[in-house]
Every structure is written in C-alpha cells, then in structure tokens.
Amino acid sequence: MQPPIPASAPAERLASSGVAPALTPVRAPEPPRPRRRLTGALWWSLALIALLCTIALLAPLLAPYAPNTQLDIIALKNQPPSLAHPFGTDQYSRDLLSRMLFGARISLSVALLAVLLSATVGTAYGLIAGYFGGRVDAVMMRLLDACLAIPRVLLLVAVLALWSPVPLGALIAIIGLTGWFEVSRLVRAEVLSVMQREYLLAARALGTPGFRIIWRHVLPNVLNPIIVAATLGVGNVIMLEAGLSYLGIGARAPAASWGSIFFDGSDAFQATWWIALFPGLAIIVTVLAFNVFGSALRDALDPHQLAGDRAR
C-alpha cells in the first residue's frame, strides 16, 4: 500500500492552482465520493418547469383566442368555465385561458430575468466584499445589513406606484435591483471560506492577478449556493410580481400577467370566483415547481448536508 501523499505537497498545490504544468504526482486512491442522489423530485420539478416554459413560448399556438380581444362584451362577459372557455371569461369578455397562457410569458420572463439580474449584482457585491475583506468588507456589510432591513414590498409599492405605469424592462430592473441583498450575503460567506483554501494561496503565491483569481478560482467554487438561491428566488419573484400586478402597479394594463388578471377581476370575486382561482393555481404550481427544484438541487449539490442528515 502506498503512503498517502499529504494534500499540501507542493507539486499537488501547483497542479491544483491550474497555472503550473501538471506534474502528475503519485496519488493515493481517493475515497469514494458520496453518490449524488438525484431524487425523483429533482426530475419531476425540472420537467414541470420545462413544460411551463414551453407553454409560455408556444402561447400563440396554444391559446384558443387572442388574449386582449374583447370577444362579445354583451353575451360573453364574466362567463363561468364552459367548454368554449375552460377557465371562463373576465369582465371585458376576454378568454381567461388565453390570457393565462400569454400571462405565463410575462410572469415567467419577469421572474427569470429579475432573478438573473439580482443574482449577478449580488454575486459581484459578495465577491468584492469577501475578496478584499477588511475595511471594505466591513463597510459593505453594514450597508447590506441596512438594505436587508428595508421592507422590500413597501419600497417596491412606493416606487412603482409613483412611477407607474412602468415598462416591463423597468419592472424587471426594479424587482431585480431590490432582490440581491440575500444573495450577496451568501456569496460573501462562501468567498470567505474559499479564501482560506490552499489552492488560493498557491494562486496568489504565483502572482495571479486579483481579477483572474476571482474569476477562475473563487467564482466557480461559490457557484452552487448561488444557483440554489437563484432557483428559490424565482418562485419568490413570481409571487411578488403577482402581488404588485394585483395592486395594478405591475405589468402594464392590456397585457396579461398572472397577477394582472386578478387586478382585472378584483372588484367582484364573490361572483367571479374563476378569475381568482385559476391564475392562483397557475402561480402555485409554478412557484412550487421552482421551490421543489431548488430544494432538490441543494440536496444534490451538497452531499455533506444530506449525508449528515442521514447519519443522525
């Protein structure tokens, strides 16, 4: 049996820094990695998300009517679900199913883009704070603490209410720019732990420039928690956008998002229950899919946590 080579052997350090030519040291056989159990939940939630995205993309083909057309304001106003209109019609005689299919486009794209924006900003902020540390970190973290304490909904409501009607791009920007605080706190914690690793020391010792260290060595190692947080964030933003649109300050008027359908029916839900029920179910199914996917992803990407949980 070979004696195991200590992990701090210089050849190994150089090799793992990715900068020096690989010297292929003699390695001890690695202990078998804990198998990444891809649970069924991961697959069905992913399939559901893919299905929802497909539906959103194919909305023009799938929708039986044009989403914003008033079909017959006299005869087809506020119709309960029927064969011709499976989800009923709203107070302007528009077909609810068609509106929901098109609404999926706005709801999903707002959520995905806003989360992409907040994940990017949050990651950059966390990387800078964690990498430079010291006084920079202290100031940035105090500022972050303050931002975390701002009631996000109230701020969004105030801004959107007074700027409304905002174009979709601005809506995405505003939601995205108020949602990165938690991501950056997460990233910074991860960066701090990565900074202690030896491969980082090696990269620094070799004089790798700071930007390259962040990009090539730090970022790839903190990516997993970012992905999980972003996935869980999508569900959150879908609900947030729905709430804002329910107040009439989200997506712009004739266009449908799942939330703005509520807004159009909010005067008389006692009589027109279908306007409240169906978009709500669509939101719940979508948000649940993203939340299940996020939790399953966390379990799959973090074997330690799962193993520890099972060992007890």
């Binding site: 107040l247 839900f269 939101i283 949980d309």
Partner: protein
C-alpha cells in the same frame, strides 16, 4: 453587552435614515409631483406653481431632503391630499391596528411553526414528517394575497362563518358592551391573522425542525435519556429549549416579509391599517402618505429586528456575559 446594545441601536438608526433617504429620492425623482395630480385638473399653471413654491417643491433637491429629514425627526410626515389630514395623525390611528394584526399573526405563526417543526424532528423520516414537509413547501409557494382572497371567498361568502372584512362591525360595534366589542374585533381578526400565520409558519417550521435535529444527537440529550427521563421531558425540556434559540433570530429576519404580507392581507380584508391606507394612497397618488407609510414601515422593521436581537442577546448566556 452595553456596547453591543449601543451598536445595534446606532445600526437601527442608520437603517431608518437609509429607508428615509431612499424613499425620499425615489419618490422625488418620479415623474410628476404631488401637485401634478391633486385637485382640479383645470388648475392653472400659476396656481400650481404657487402651491409648489408654498410647499417647497421649487427648492434644490438637497435642500428639500434636509428640510424633509428635519420634519421627519420632529414627527412631521407631511400632509395627505387625499384624506385632507396630517400624515402623522393618519398613521397614528393605523399603526396600532397593523401592529394588532401583525402581533396576532406572529404569535400564531410561531406557535404553529415551532409545534410542527418539533413534531417533524421527533418523527424524522416518517411519512408524517415527509408529508408535513411537502405541505409546508406548498404553503411556502402560495402568494399571500391569493390565500387571503380564497379564505375570504370560502369562509366569509360561501360559508359565512366570519365577517367579510374590516376591523369592526360598521353598524353595531359602537352600541356593543366592552366584551362584545372585543369579541367583534377578534371575529374580524381571525381570518386575516390566520392567513398570514399559516404562510409564515411554513418557514418557521422548517427552521425549527433543522434546529431540533442539530440538538437531538448532543451528549446532554443522551444524558437526559440515560437518566431515565421520559421522552416527552427530554424533547420538551432538554432539547427544544436549546433549539429555540436560533428560532429567535428568525423573528427579526421574518419581519420585512411579514410587513409585506400584512400589506397585501390588509388590502384584501379591508383591515384599516397601514397597508390598506397605503393601497388607497397609491390609488389616489397621495405622495406624502405613501412616503410616510414606507418610512413608518421601515421604522417598524428596524425596531422589530432590534428587539429580536436584544431578545436573543438576553436569552443567550454567551452574549449576555459580554
């Protein structure tokens, strides 16, 4: 300890200042001002400009901000053009109502969350634990305003068990005895507070389950079992008490979300608190009232998380010693 408390108070003041600054600038930078929409649309430009000058809207933005800050510090939050009253006096009436709703929701949600989480941890891995996790994740995925709408439809219209909104019975409340009034408010409180509680309980239960699972394999729990204590005593007295500590931090962290949730739930149930007032203020483009609500909401969150941290410090012997 004193140093810690002082530091936390300073931090809260910074938060309140930031909230004030952010909401002030975002609102002043928005297109139009308080007088673009107020009153008669045929108001002449001369009159409009005189009003702007009267309220200081023609000054440089920095000067306006300094004046605004000075006013906020003195408790002057401006004038509501839609309700024709001082913003401070409107919010002074609305704030206790919101606090009542939030307090009831917070209490119920922690009670439900801790109980469910502890139950799950004790039965870890059983089908009850797994199905509870599934249900919690489902609740975690329900938008607050939608659950409020459904609760209203189901339990106030289809099965008229509860009143359909508001805080008191509009007609007979004033003629009731004291006990009757209390019962009236409670009847109106149940649906909105339960809606809020069920949703935030989902996160609390998850957290409590994890916290208890961290504690259960510890040596002192084994010691308690070895002493021959009943399982009930072991879990409730030895394990749960120590697993409650991290849950206190959740109290502070859940406040911003709770303020948001309360906002929507108040709107749906016409609960005449700050959220309801803010929603109406938005509809009538009442700038000062919207700004005032955001600032008071920020103060509420800041004070709440300050209290939660102090509570944590008081409950944690390690922090208390410092």
């Amino acid at each position: 300890m004193r140093r810690y408390v002082a530091g936390r108070i300073v931090q809260s003041l910074i938060v309140v200042f930031l909230v004030t600054a952010i909401s002030f600038f975002l609102i002043r930078l928005a297109p139009g001002d308080a007088f673009s929409f107020v009153g008669d649309y045929t108001m002449s430009d001369a009159v409009r400009n005189r009003l702007r000058a009267q309220f200081g809207y023609d000054r440089p933005l920095i000067e306006q901000f300094a004046r605004f800050l000075g006013n906020v510090v003195r408790g002057q939050l401006g004038y509501s053009h839609s309700m024709h009253r001082d913003v401070g006096s409107i919010l002074a009436v609305a704030l206790p109502r919101t606090l009542l709703l939030m307090g009831a929701a917070l209490f119920t949600s922690f009670a439900i969350g801790i109980a469910v989480g502890a139950f799950q941890a004790v039965r870890r891995g059983s089908w009850l634990d797994r199905s509870a996790s599934g249900i919690l994740l489902l609740f975690y995925s329900i938008p607050d305003f939608w659950l409020a709408l459904m609760a209203l439809l189901a339990f106030a219209y289809w099965l008229p068990i509860f009143p359909s909104g508001g805080m008191v019975d509009q007609v007979v409340h004033d003629y009731m005895s004291f006990g009757g009034r209390v019962r009236d408010v409670i009847a109106h409180l149940i649906l909105p507070s339960l809606t809020l509680a069920v949703l935030s309980a989902a996160g609390i239960a998850r957290f409590q389950r994890a916290a208890l699972l961290d504690v259960l394999p510890q040596d002192y729990v084994r010691t308690a079992r070895a002493k021959g204590l009943g399982e009930r005593t072991v879990v409730l007295k030895h394990a749960l008490r120590n697993a409650l500590l991290p849950v206190i931090t959740l109290l502070g962290l859940s406040l911003p979300a709770l303020v948001g949730g309360t906002f929507f739930v108040e709107k749906v149930f016409s609960w005449p608190g700050m959220g309801y007032i803010a929603a109406n203020a938005i509809a009538s483009r009442d700038y000062d009232l919207v700004t005032g609500t955001v600032i008071v909401g920020g103060i509420m969150v800041a004070v709440g998380s300050l209290l939660a941290d102090l509570l944590y410090a008081a409950a944690d012997p390690r922090l208390r010693a410092r």
